[in-house]
Amino acid sequence: MQWIWFVLAGIMGGFFGGMGMGGGTLLIPILSIFLGVEQKLCQGLNLMSFLVMAIISILIHHKNGLLKIRNTQIIIIFGVIFAIFGSVLMTFLPSKILKFCFGIFLCLLSAFEFVKVFKK
């Protein structure tokens, strides 16, 4: 019955993602902290789940005319190159260090989001 927890974790991450907040930044810690899944596996799960969800969302957004590709190509080209670099680097690090780095990353993001919430 352990699979039901993965569904619930997914629902929780997806819920915030669907509301336009970073779903992945929550799904990874939920899987890692509460389900005790190895950090690297959490990250892989998040990437794959994102791809599935994104296909559906992109199609809906396209129908609603919300996509604007112009000028984003530069971001994509550099993004893809450095994504390979980042994910290959990740494979050399132990999960314990990754977890710590992800913790720092989350704290930085939340500080940033905190300022944004109260500025609006």
Partner: protein, 130 residues
């Protein structure tokens, strides 16, 4: 004002191009290294530098992150950091949750949900560090 400027002058200067390239590199690195989170940098980038409206920035971010996540997922897959059953269950949850979230957006007060979101992130961040 910013939005109108963007509509009239779609061509961007070299300075902006450099900013986009540097941020793109950061987004790609972070998203590959951490398996997510690139979107949270991409949305403010599209809003701030390209003057996209909030909704357009959110939607386009998915399109930008998609190829980035695709290559990262390929590396994870080759490294063996994926498991089919947990993927199928988590992805199902994400899709169901995503649909709920999209509808909830119209009903729930966004500010309160955002504060809850930030709270959860801080908790998660600290728990992962210690």
């Amino acid at each position: 004002m910013k939005e109108r400027d963007f509509e009239t002058f779609e061509k961007i200067n070299i300075k902006k191009k450099i900013v986009l390239a540097l941020c793109g590199a950061l987004i790609g690195f972070v998203n590959g290294f951490f398996g997510g989170g690139g979107g949270m940098i991409c949305v403010p980038l599209l809003e701030g530098v390209l003057g996209f409206k909030n909704k357009v920035a959110h939607a386009t971010t998915l399109l930008v992150i998609f190829p980035i996540s695709l290559v990262s997922a390929a590396v994870y897959l080759l490294n063996g950091d994926l498991e089919f059953l947990s993927f199928a269950t988590t992805a199902t949850g994400v899709v169901v949750g995503g649909i709920f979230g999209a509808f909830a957006l119209k009903v729930l007060p966004e500010k309160i949900v955002r504060i809850l979101f930030v709270g959860l992130m801080i908790y998660g961040g600290i728990r992962l560090m210690i």
